[in-house]
Structures are given as C-alpha cells and as structure tokens.
Amino acid sequence: MSQSLDNTIAPSLSGGTIIVRRRLSKKKLRRFKPYLYLLPAVALLSIWMYRPLLYTFYLAFQKWSMVPGTSPVFVGFDNFEHLFHNKSFIDSIGNTIFYTVGLLPFSILIPMILAVVTDRMESKSKNFYRAMFFIPMILAPVSVSAIWRWLFHPSNGLVNYLLVKLHLIKEPIAYFSDPGFAKWIILLITGWKMIGFSTIMFSAALTSINREYYEAASQDGAGSFRQFVHITIPLLSPMIIFMLTMSILFSSQWTFAYIDMLTTGGPYGSSTNIYYEMYRFAFSSLNAGLSSAAALLFFVVFGLIALGLNMVSRKFAFYDN
C-alpha cells in the first residue's frame, strides 16, 4: 500500500516516466492511449448525460409536445412564468422539503443509534441484525409499494384491522386518499427502505474509530451518553455529512416510485414532489418545455445546495484523519 496516494485530482501512479527511451511513434501512441481507454465512458456520458442536459436547458425556453413532425417553438421565459403560476408546482416544492427533512431521521438519526447499539455486540448477532435490517433496501420499489398498499388497504388492510382492534382508531383510514396521511405513508415507506443501508454505513464508520478514545474517556469517568455526544458524533461527522448530502440530493428521487405507485401525487397534489411534477408535465401533459424549465431550475438549486454541503464537509474533513 506504500504507493497509494491520496491526491484525488492528479494522482500519478504509473511507472511510465521511468522508461523514457522509446521511439517517437510509440511515444505518440502512448499519448493517445489514456484517451482511448476513456473514450467509451466519455462518449457514452456525452450521449446519455450531457447532451440531454444541454438539450433540456434548450427545451426550457421552447414549447413542444414531443410529437414527431412537430418542432419546438421558442417562447422565451414563458415556461418559467407558467411554472410559478402553477399551484401544484408551488405546492410540490413544499412537499419536496417535507420529504427531504422528513427522511433525515431515517437516514441519520435512527441508523446512527442502531449502529452504536449493535456495535459492541458479538459478531454473530450483530451480523444477523444487520442482515435483517438490510432486506428492505434490496427490494424493488414496485414490489415494496404493492406490499404496503395491501397492508394499508382501507377496508381489508392489516394495519387498519389492528388499529381498530386495539381501539386506537374508531374507523378504518383510507391512507392513500387522505391528504393528512398520504405523504406520511410515502415518507414512512421510503424511510423504512433506507434505515438498513444507513445503519450499515454508520456501522462501518464506527468500526474504524479507535477504541482508545473510549477507553480514555471511560477512565475519565464519562458515561455512555457523554461518550456518544463527545466522541462518537464528532468522529462520525464526515459520515453524517455524507449521508446528509446523499439524503438531500436523492430523497426526491427515492420517493418518486412510491408517489407514482401509491398516490400519483394526490389527493390534490398533497403528496407530490418536484420530480413527480416534472414527470407529469412531460408525459401526461405532454409539455416538454414546462418540464424542462422545472428541471433547469432545480438543477441550479441542487447544485447550490451541493456546493454548500461540500464547503461544510471540507470544514469537518480533519476528523477524517
């Protein structure tokens, strides 16, 4: 491992510079070689990521229904204006924030506690628990939605049955068509799926914390709660920020499938999020311009958020070493 470098931007690993006596043609070929190896990846990225991204920016200023034989018409900033007058879109921003914030306990708080609790167990039971927590993570969103839809079914679902039996509610609740419940259920399912993964991430981070810190603290008479606050949390902070970033950037994408499967954004838009609205604008209203305008807007917003989090993570980076 002696040669491994930490400089991620321009690592030089190869022994290539050692052997310099080469003929020119070979040298030339050598110069092209890296590009040759990179070509498939870069070409595919350009075709399927960057070209479409630029095209989306272009479409944000056009009006187009995507029907072949029709062409986009330039409309200036009209799409953005419509976007801000579109009530369901404005509402969806609030929901997006709701999902993003609501997911944090599931991606950080609960997993961190679970990781700490399981950390000092004997490895057999530890592995068993973690393997179980992990199962929801690997299941497909469609299957998960189907199962939860059945569990939360208003007249025949197990959840209502139990709640009524236990006298916690008087009448069965129609979770997916009740504006008070729909988004909470979606949050719950997304969170249920996330916990296992985050727990394992935090467990891995914990394993690498030096035990001596705790021993020293223990000798100083610090209780487990104080140890958690003063040692564990600071040492886990890079992972916390990493999960925070992931959670913020991706929560809207993780909830997408459940919104589509369970509520299609309803009732009256109370469970939709911006990505679902983008999808609806494009493939239900056939309004490529409006969808692209929203995409452009949120590309910028999420870019700024990521930049901010990056700065924060650099501040905390020293804990890493």
Binding site: Q3, S14, P52, M66, Y129, Y279
Partner: protein
C-alpha cells in the same frame, strides 16, 4: 470494557428484534396473503389455513411472468456488464497515466452526481424513439451503459493497488492492456465482483426509465409488468401478492446466497 446488566442487554435485543420484525414482516405478509384462498384473503389470520396455489396460477396466466423475469435478468446483466467494462477501462486510464485534460475528465465524471434522471429523461426518450428502440430491452439498457459511480468507485480501489507491481510488470515487458487484464483485474476480482453485484441490484430495481420505455408486458422487466398488473386489476389481492412474491424471489435468493458480499459492496461503494 463495559459492564452491562442482563436487563439492559435484554432490552437492547428486544428493541432490535422488534425492528427486525418491522423490516421483514411486510414480506411475510405478502407470502402469507399469496397463499390464502378467496374466502381467507380478507381475514387477518397469520397463517393460511389451507394454503392454495391458485393465486400463483392466476398470476401466471394473466402475465408472461417467465418472459418478464427473463427480461429483468437480461436488462440487469447487460447493464452491469456494460457498466463494468466501461468503468474498468476508464478507471484504469485515470489511475495509470498523467495526461492533459484529466481535471476536465474528473469534472465530467463528478458533475453527473448533480444530474437527476428526471432532468434528462425527455431528450433521452426522444433519442431512444428516434433510434427506433422504444419498447425494446436495448432501449432500456443503453442510457445506463455507463455509470460514473462505478468509474469513481473503481478508481478509488485501483488507487490502492501497489504501484511497484505495475512497475515490475512493465519492466517485464507487459503491455498496458495486459497489465489491466492479467494483473489488475485478477487481483481486484473481489472488488469488481462487489461492484457488479451492487450495479446488478440497482439495475434490477430501476423504475422510471424502464417504465417510460417498456410498453408491453412482453418487453417489460418484472417490476414494470407488475406495475401494469397493479394498476389494472381490482380486488385480486391474492394473485397480486403472488405476483409480487415472484418478483421478489430472484433478488431474495441472491441475497440469501451472497449476503456477505452484498452488504459489503453496499458499504464499500454506497448507493447511487
């Protein structure tokens, strides 16, 4: 190091067992419901009194499940293979050489983190249409043929590959290609395999894009076929749960066999 009372330990295990139940109970309920007959499906019995397979036969007659499972495997394997191939080449080039524009390449790679699929779906949809690949498996695979996540992950692993070994191989006259295929790949097999497993699961669970492209059940992966089934049928919860069970079985089997590797690869590479 710590002395914990048995009560505390008991409480801790109790809490964890409860959480385990929460994690897997929905799956159990799915299986349970899929085996109940029509009169029992609406009851809350914990076991099916007379397990029946009629729900499964109905699901299999209503949907080309075998075909859809094949589609799922085909799509996931193709995606995984393409992603591994492109990222092995790219990661190798990045680790191996110093060259002009390397910074730009990293920029291109890392910026994709910020591009949600929803913001590129329209142009990609239009392109796949223009290529005549709508409602085909290839149309589902192509946009996912490269993964920057895989490239950066492999790059990280390759970085810790001992440089002396590469130097030695070079002095022995090994070509650059052989260094990749005969030295690095064999020695990082387990890493590559973990990444492959991860990408396979991701591909298997992909939702939005297959949903846009797959139109008919014959060209749909299991997930999307199931979605069509869920949306078209009412009051058929038994067979719906049977179909859902079938859709979960492959991935659960893989998890059962490769549990260690799967958990490990998620830890190692995170998720995208």
């Amino acid at each position: 190091m710590f002395h914990r009372s048995p009560i505390q330990s008991f409480a801790r295990h109790g809490m964890l067992v409860l959480l385990c139940v929460l994690a897997v109970f929905p799956l159990y309920w799915m299986l349970n419901s899929s085996l109940k007959n029509e009169s029992e499906i609406f009851t809350s019995s914990i076991f099916p009194h007379k397990p029946v397979f009629s729900n499964y036969t109905y699901a299999f007659t209503q949907m080309p499940i075998v075909r859809m499972a094949f589609n799922s495997f085909a799509v996931s394997i193709m995606m995984t293979m393409l992603q591994l191939a492109t990222s092995l080449l790219a990661a190798y080039a990045l680790v191996r050489w110093r060259f002009r524009g390397k910074g730009v390449i990293f920029a291109i790679l890392s910026l994709t983190w910020l591009i949600p699929f929803q913001s590129i779906m329209i142009p990609n949809y239009v392109l796949v249409n223009d290529l005549g690949l709508n409602d085909t498996l290839l149309g589902i695979v192509l946009p996912f043929s490269v993964s920057t996540f895989a490239i950066l992950s492999l790059y990280q692993s390759f970085q810790s590959f001992p440089g002396v070994l590469i130097e030695a191989a070079q002095i022995d006259g090994m070509s650059d290609w052989s260094i990749l295929t005969r030295l690095i790949i064999p020695n990082t097999r387990s890493t590559i395999a973990s990444l492959g497993i991860l990408q396979f699961i991701n591909a298997w669970n992909e939702y939005l894009w297959p949903m846009l492209i797959a139109k008919s059940m014959n060209h749909a992966p299991l997930q999307i076929g199931l979605r069509l089934f869920v949306n078209s049928d009412t009051n058929m919860w038994g067979s719906l749960m049977a179909a859902t069970t079938v859709s979960c079985v492959p991935i659960l089997l893989i998890y059962l066999i490769l549990r260690r590797q799967i958990v490990d690869s998620f830890v190692r590479f995170g998720i995208k």
